[in-house]
């Protein structure tokens, strides 16, 4: 293995190429990921298969190493940017082919808090995992959350806060949802550095997600539960 070695992605068979794309995602090599996506499509792969086997699986590996403290925010941002570039190619094709969606999430940082980083990571990883994500940005008063869930009818509402001065605002949002009788229509996930499990329980959220990788795992679990419940009815 030499660092100088140039590799022609076209020369790889499908399996090797997908492996290589996982590595390229891991290393945040955006152009290589885009090239890989285009090659697989030109070989007749369905967009949904490219998404799940190349991109989602690649981001899953990134997520595991992030969770385990092997990768940090800068590396994950680069990987997520590469994934996004690949998604940009796939998105219109996915829409045409009516590919299945895991679920839908509205996510935003609460009022008074401008922290973007963790929340965007969650949004990107969720998208990478096959969720549709509506990112409503930072500094959201409760009205913004209510509008977004009414407009988009998501399965999941995600809230983020990085300050001890803003984390109590999550409870304001949840309490307002309760007042309106819509709290139980959604799975509410919360995250952010100063939070913990106990806090999430105390404010009435469904779960606390320690990081973006855990958020994806938790969201998937809740979607499975939801499907099972619906099947049981």
């Amino acid at each position: 293995m030499s660092d100088e070695e140039e590799l022609d992605l076209n020369s790889l068979d499908d399996e090797e190429l997908v492996q290589q794309m996982h590595d390229d995602l891991y290393d945040g090599l955006k152009e290589e990921v885009e090239e890989g996506v285009n090659i697989l499509l030109s070989r007749g792969w369905l967009p949904y298969r490219v998404l799940t086997e190349a991109l989602v699986e690649g981001m899953r590996i990134v997520g595991v190493d992030f969770r385990d403290g092997i990768l940090f925010v800068p590396e994950v941002l680069l990987a997520a940017n590469s994934m996004k570039a690949g998604m940009t190619i796939l998105r219109p094709l996915l829409a045409e082919t009516g590919a299945p969606r895991l679920g839908k999430m509205v996510i935003g940082t609460v009022k008074g808090d401008i922290h973007d980083i963790g929340k965007n990571l969650v949004a990107m990883m969720m998208e990478g995992a096959g969720f549709e994500v509506i990112n409503i940005g930072i500094n959201n008063p409760v009205e913004n959350y209510l509008e977004a869930i009414e407009e988009h009818d998501p399965d999941i509402l995600g809230m983020s806060a990085l300050l001890t001065t803003t984390m109590p605002y999550m409870k304001v949002v949840i309490d307002t949802m309760k007042e309106k009788g819509i709290r139980d229509d959604y799975v509410v996930l919360v995250g952010g550095a100063p939070l913990n499990e106990e806090f999430a329980t105390a404010i009435g959220a469904d779960a606390y997600c320690r990081d973006a990788a855990v958020a994806v795992e938790t969201a998937k679990e809740f979607m499975v539960r939801k499907h099972n419940q619906m099947a049981a009815v």
């Binding site: 980083i117 001065t165 803003t166 109590p168 806090f199």
Partner: protein, 342 residues
Amino acid sequence: MSRTSLDELLSSRDWLLADGATGTNYFQLGLMSGDAPELWNIDHPDRVRTVHRSFIEAGSDIILTNSFGCNRYRLKLHDAEDRVAELNNLAASLARQEADASDRPVLVAGSMGPTGEIFEPVGTLSMDAGREAFAEQAAALKEGGADVLWIETISSVEELTAATEGAGTAGLPVIGTMSFDTNGRTMMGLTPKDFGEITRSLQVGLAGIGANCGTGASEMVATVLGITEARPDAIVVAKGNCGIPKYVDGHIHYDGTPELMADYARLARDAGVRIIGGCCGTTAVHLKAMRAALQAHTPGAKPSVEAIEQRLGSVSDLAHGRDVAAEAAASDDRRSRRRRRA
């Protein structure tokens, strides 16, 4: 009376007590979640001064101004990005008035928190723009009467560099602390030792280096052990959280007791820390206990990680000397890359 400088105070004393939490204490006085504490410099100057005074009365030698989020990027959120000069100036002068009213020397440290933006190349904020924002804030803090500039809660090398260079333009001593809250590292992946090494080569020499916030008092002591190991020559600062946040009756409550914080102060002192304070959750009651503990304490040997865990609570794998990131990087086979571009 001429003001005492940081240097003078440090050469006359073995340790200095910094102050406690701003946000958590403001909540007790009616700050609403989501509102900017910095606007209290205008709306409730009396409350800002009350908190400063309570810290001084509890024994703080250094108080931090109410200006943590007072850079143009953070203020933008409250449509106050054009009020950097006004708010920082006020923040410093409120602290100054309380410091000057004390019968012992109290230093005013101009608090400077992160921009909330990600710096290039991963993010979009340029070094020049970052430097400029910090310089703008530093100048106003100096104007208002700050003795030192206190950069805190930084997580990336880029922002640390921009902040120190920006703050450096004001001509005051600069202290820089990072926040190690992710498995013993900063959010951006820096270890306490990395940070110590980096401070050697910053263009602006720092009068003090250290850590603030993070995950709790135990990890804080483990963190400063890493910093003092890399920089045994430096003045080291620790401003640890008062335990772990809990949600009680609509408020955030940190579970650290005054006894725990007193023990944290002793251990931090043993670890080689010269400036000790508390971050989130730390009240005047905690500070008083910390001051009494430090006064009665004869520093002992550097504590072992086991001793820290036994007395304060658990610490990260990294603090135990197990660096999973380095291990994974060393065993490169974990991900057999066939190709890598620089």
